[in-house]
Amino acid sequence: MSRRVFSARGDHIESRRPVTVSRYRGITRLNHWVTAASLIVLLVSGLALFHPSLYFLTGLFGGGQVTRWLHPFVGVLLFFSFLLLFLQMWRLNLPRPEDRTWVSQIGDVVRGEEEKLPELGKYNAGQKFVFWAMSVLIVVLIVSGVMIWQEYFPDLVTIPVRRWAVLVHALAAIAIILTFILHVYAAIWTRGTLRAMTRGTVTGGWAWRHHRKWLRELAGRGESGPAK
Amino acid sequence: MNIDLSRRGFLKLAGAGVAATSLGAMGFGGAEAAEQARVRAFKLASMTETRNTCPYCSVACGIIIYSNGDLKAGEEARVVHIEGDADHPTNRGTLCPKGAALKDFVNAETRLTTPRIRRPGSATFEEISWEEALDKIARALKDDRDANMVLTNDDGVTVNRWTSTGFLAASATTNETAWLTYKTVRAMGIVGFDNQARV
């Protein structure tokens, strides 16, 4: 059949009446949620060590020593987990000409006036932003994190470098938390999105409204049953 | 026994010229009970103090041994800490890196705890009782002395010397041990007698 341009392997029309579209395979969803859980643990444990007023959060993990021990390991887990996601998603997150239009009309996006926007593939520019921001920040965090990982890499870098690393780690962490908030909020605000990562499917209307090119490509393939 | 300490401290910290910065000056005068001790518990509380002398060099620094248990009261005692004696005129409480670690000498892993014998040709020491060890020594001494004591020299002069057994005395034993050693060695006629002062 023809080359996929707007969809990933495994994306397909799940049922026709009503239309539901399979957006994420089970393995991808699991991958996402592992990543998400890691990130949440990291941001909670990281914030606990970031600001005294949040130190009480270490109690969630069984105290400061455990928190200090756990955080970097979860960081490594997140890194590899996200790496898998990255490998699955990076192609469809490459920028396309319509992204520019989408961004320039961000006001329409916020107002929910999507009919004014161009038709999109599987991801809009906002989602792509989150994807790339996450990718870059996670790399920054893992690199700076290893530099300050006292238990295993105490002498990896000099203390002046370590001071920069700890600052960069903090800044990147703030950025990734902001990105995370954006991601979560967008998923909630755009109703019908969450099920893509829970049940794996979205409604046809959701797909039509937000990712019409993606839907068109799947429909054009005529795939109406479970994947063979 | 004049073991009583003169608790006269040296008011002037020897030469540092630092007139006693006293506890009071540092705000430790009226110690109030702290609600919750944050610092490490002071480890010498309730230890037995004993005056002693560092056994290393001949500066003979005064030391205080802090032990767990009181020998004078007939108890078993174990050394927990050793520190310079601030009342001692020479060292004024100071100690060198050897003296400051004297506890490690007393409690060294290589301290001997039992008599041992190495038999001719053997590759190991084996334990032996004090009785057996001492009897063995006495027997060997008697036999060697009887066999090799030189009573007269070639000119017939009485010389009464024993050269086939030698004794090296220590450098850190007490005068009293030294005297008892001297008596024993000299009475037997040993002339191969020396101590660390030679080197």
Binding site: - | N2, I3, S6, G15, T50, R51, T53, Y56, C57, S58, V59, A60, V79, T90, N91, L95, A101, E109, R111, L112, P120, G121, A123, F125, I128, W130, L134, I137, A138, K142, L151, V159, N160, R161, T165, G166, A169, A170, S171, A172, T174, N175, E176, T177, A178, L180, T181, Y182, T184, V185, R186, M188, V191, G192, F193, D194, Q196, A197, R198, V199
Partner: protein
């Protein structure tokens, strides 16, 4: 030490040469920093290495190991040339005015009377001209060409700053600066102290090194005064005590002597010992020798020593050689002539020279008995530790007994410090396991031997059977009982010699001091110089009053100092001929018209009139000796002698090797090397982090200095391609070691004439037992030869070679 540690604070100038006080005696060195801080005193260090002492010095001068006599004689020469002499002191308190016999002289590095066959001098010409009255002739004007002063002047004239530069490698300007600083101390109100240790003794002419400085100190008027003196910093906590008590081949407690074969009877023995005064009115304190000797014999053998049997003189061994010192014993052992050897708290395998020979010798013993708190290398000499002790265990037939003894923390008793203080200490801990006090061990050995003689009879059992052993518990005599024997006790009432009706000390009581010792058998006392340590006033060694009137540093009521609680020896010399202190601000004693008063116990009879009685009462001259007559085997003045292994020929006599009268055993002579094969000078020493071979058993000390290393200059490292921290192989004609290389700017090559001399420093703290990493001591390399007078081995100057180590193994 003539003075005490605390007295050093009174000095104006400290000269550390032949020692490294900051490193080896840090807490004693405190008093140097005190003198610096409070008197503005200066510190000079003369040493082959820039030591830790040098790091806090005001002036440092390098010197080639083994060339100290040249430096010292040149200092004396400079003082004489520049009139830096304390003239009144020299004239009145030294033998400078004494006239010397015509026959005495010096030529080609040798004094008159040398016999190369015997390797000995005929010393008969080295003496004073005696008048018909039996007194030595003197010329108080010092004009007589044969007076000691003029002979000395001539003797030292050869030692110029140029010679110093050529022989010692000390730059001339450095020498001159040192001389200037020292010269200031010839003023009566300036004093200098000499602090030395094994850097001077461990040479084949060690005694002469010390003589050299003692002479300089006399010329500057620095003996007997506060802040002055000759201060030998003794190495171990009680080698002073063990020497005082005579635990040496030829000694009896209190520096009396074991007789020789030439003294078959008491009268002969005594005749050469109670010296008559050599000048009118002098004390010549050794005239009391019989009192000390008889009291000693009574302490040993009690009722068995009687006037009739010459105090059991025949119980004493008579020596056929000067001493059966350690070196001789190991020589005999190696020849198979020793069967049993005891090591009580002593580790000869690492402490004596030429370890290969020591191992060979120990392997020929039948029985080796080691009593020690720690597992020593000596006790384990038969155990194979790979390259660190590569012996053939199975072939060694020596039986070894290792007996666990207690340590300082576990016994009561006294130790004698370098300043002659007898300080009592108390046990604080229980000995571990079955470890026992040395007193118990010695008593057990003795009682068992005695029992065998009682039961079986045997050869000459009398001195054993009659040895005094009246202790409450014969199995373990108490320290108190033994200390009291050392002090001495009245066997009969001791009466005043001037007034026989007056009982000074009643029968059975402790003697007050040695003035109560008697030669008629009515007193016993083991060690006369200790008398007073435990008299009827109690245990004076346990005194703890640290009051110091006027802060002189004397601490007269702290413990007990021998003799007679005297803190500074020769202290009468602190005052001028009339008895006025040389420096009123540093008064020690003064003559009040009737008697001597002051801060110390006078080293003279308290009522001796100053103009009549000389201050050096032990000498028959009454004065000190710049010229030692025949008392030293290698010369009445120090003369330059190279070490036995030297890169440079003796500048006075290229044919002369080492000390011409030092005893050398034939097999050892073969093992002396030349600089063709072994071009580098090595010297051995202690580091501050360790105490000999003991502290390597301690975790903390092992951590502070964990592994054997040698120190070399950057220049030598570059020449040999040695990287800092790399392994090197160092070898001499007698053995080899592997060590880490510590490359430093603290050692610099020295230009001695046309020869560039590199020095390699070899610290001595490692072996194959204990907590530190396994290593070697310098004694794997050092030559088996000792000082001509006292047989202290030449550990401070010998020849080695060095190269980067290839691989770990050393054969």
């Amino acid at each position: 030490m003539t003075n005490s540690w605390t007295d050093i604070k009174n000095t104006d100038l400290v000269v550390v040469m032949g020692g490294n006080a900051a490193e080896a005696h840090p807490c004693g060195f405190k008093w140097v920093t005190e003198a610096k801080a409070h008197r503005g005193a200066k510190l000079i260090v003369v040493d082959p290495r820039f030591t830790r002492t040098a790091s806090v010095s005001d002036y440092y001068a390098p010197i080639r190991p083994g060339s100290d006599i040249v430096f010292l004689m040149a200092l004396i020469n400079w003082m004489i040339q520049n009139d830096k002499v304390q003239w009144e002191y020299v004239k009145a308190f030294t033998n400078a005015p004494f006239i010397v016999k015509e026959g005495f002289g010096w030529n080609d590095g040798l004094f008159t009377g040398y016999d190369p066959e015997k390797r000995d001098y005929d010393r008969s010409s080295w003496d004073y001209v005696l008048g018909e009255d039996g007194y030595a002739e003197v010329d108080p004007t010092l004009e007589h060409p044969r007076c000691v002063w003029n002979l000395l002047k001539e003797h030292v004239s050869r030692y110029t700053p140029e010679l110093v530069e050529q022989v010692c490698g000390t730059p001339k300007d450095r020498f001159l600066k040192v001389a200037e600083m020292i010269g200031e101390c010839s003023a009566p109100d300036k004093t200098m102290t000499s602090m030395y240790a094994l850097g001077w003794t461990q040479h084949s002419k060690g005694s002469q090194n010390i003589r050299g400085m003692a002479m300089l100190q006399l010329i500057l008027g620095n003996i007997g005064v506060r802040g002055g003196g000759m201060n030998a910093l003794r190495g171990h906590s009680n080698i002073q005590g063990l020497t005082d008590i005579g635990l040496m081949s030829n000694l009896i407690p209190g520096y009396l002597n074991i007789p020789t074969e030439k003294e078959p009877d008491w009268q002969t023995y005594m005749s050469s010992r109670s010296f008559k005064p050599l000048r009118p009115g002098q004390t010549s304190y050794w005239q009391n020798y019989p009192k000390f000797m008889v009291s000693f014999m009574k302490a040993m053998w009690g009722d068995a020593a009687t006037a009739e049997n010459d105090w059991a003189y025949h119980y004493l061994p008579k020596l056929d050689v000067p001493t059966y010192d350690i070196l001789r014993m190991f020589e005999l052992m190696d020849a198979g002539k020793v069967n049993i050897y005891f090591c009580q708290g002593f580790n000869p395998l690492l402490a004596f020279p030429n370890r290969g020979k020591l191992t060979s010798a120990l392997s020929k013993l039948k029985l080796l008995v080691v009593m020690d708190p720690l597992a020593t290398e000596t006790a384990h000499f038969w155990e194979n530790h790979g390259e660190h002790n590569d012996v053939d265990t199975a072939s060694i037939q020596t039986e070894v007994l290792e007996l666990p003894s207690s340590c300082f923390a576990e016994d009561d008793g006294a130790l004698v410090n370098s300043g002659r203080w007898l300080q009592w200490h108390w046990a604080a801990a229980t000995p571990p396991g079955q470890a026992k006090h040395d007193t118990w061990i010695m008593a057990q050995i003795f009682l068992r031997v005695k029992k065998l003689y009682e039961d079986e009879g045997g050869v000459f059992p009398d001195p054993i059977l009659n040895l005094t052993w009246d202790y409450a518990d014969p199995d373990e005599p108490s320290p108190e009982e033994l200390a009291k024997e050392l002090n001495g006790r009245a066997l009969e009432d001791v009466r005043d010699t001037a007034d026989p009706a007056k009982v000074l000390t009643a029968r059975g009581k402790q003697l007050l001091n040695f003035s109560q010792y008697r030669d008629d058998g009515t007193t016993m006392g083991a060690c006369w110089i200790y008398a007073g340590c435990w008299n009827e006033e109690g245990n004076n060694m346990a005194r703890r009053d640290n009051n110091d009137p006027d802060e002189t540093g004397a601490y007269p009521n702290w413990a007990f100092a021998w003799p007679l609680n005297r803190r500074i020896l020769y202290n009468r010399a602190s005052a001028d001929v009339q008895g006025r202190p040389w420096d009123p601000s540093r008064k020690l004693l003064e003559w009040d018209g009737q008697k001597w008063t002051g801060y110390d116990v006078p080293d003279i009879a308290p009522a001796s009139r100053p103009e009549e009685v000389g201050p050096f009462i032990m000498n028959p001259e009454g004065v000190s000796r710049l010229f030692t007559r025949g008392m030293m085997r290698d010369g009445p003045f120090p003369t330059h002698m190279e070490p036995f292994e030297s890169p440079i020929a003796n500048v006075f006599n290229p044919e002369m090797r080492g000390n011409p009268v030092a005893r050398v055993f034939a097999s050892d002579a073969e093992q002396f090397a030349t600089s063709d094969e072994f071009p580098f000078v090595a010297t051995s020493y202690r580091l501050t982090e360790h105490f000999h071979y003991w502290t390597k058993h301690n975790r903390i000390n092992a951590a502070l200095q964990p592994e054997f290393f040698v120190e070399i200059s950057r220049e030598l490292a570059a020449e040999k391609g040695i990287q800092p921290g790399a392994s090197v192989r160092v070898w001499s004609k007698r053995g080899e070691v592997r060590a880490k290389a510590l490359v430093t700017g603290r050692l610099k090559p020295m230009q001695c004439g046309d020869k560039l001399v590199h020095v390699i420093g070899i610290p001595l703290h490692w072996g194959f037992m204990g907590a530190a990493r396994k290593g070697w001591g310098p004694n794997s390399l050092t030559p088996f030869v000792g000082d001509a007078n006292v047989e202290t081995p030449e550990f401070k100057a010998f020849l080695v070679n060095i190269e980067p180590a290839t691989g770990e193994a050393v054969s």
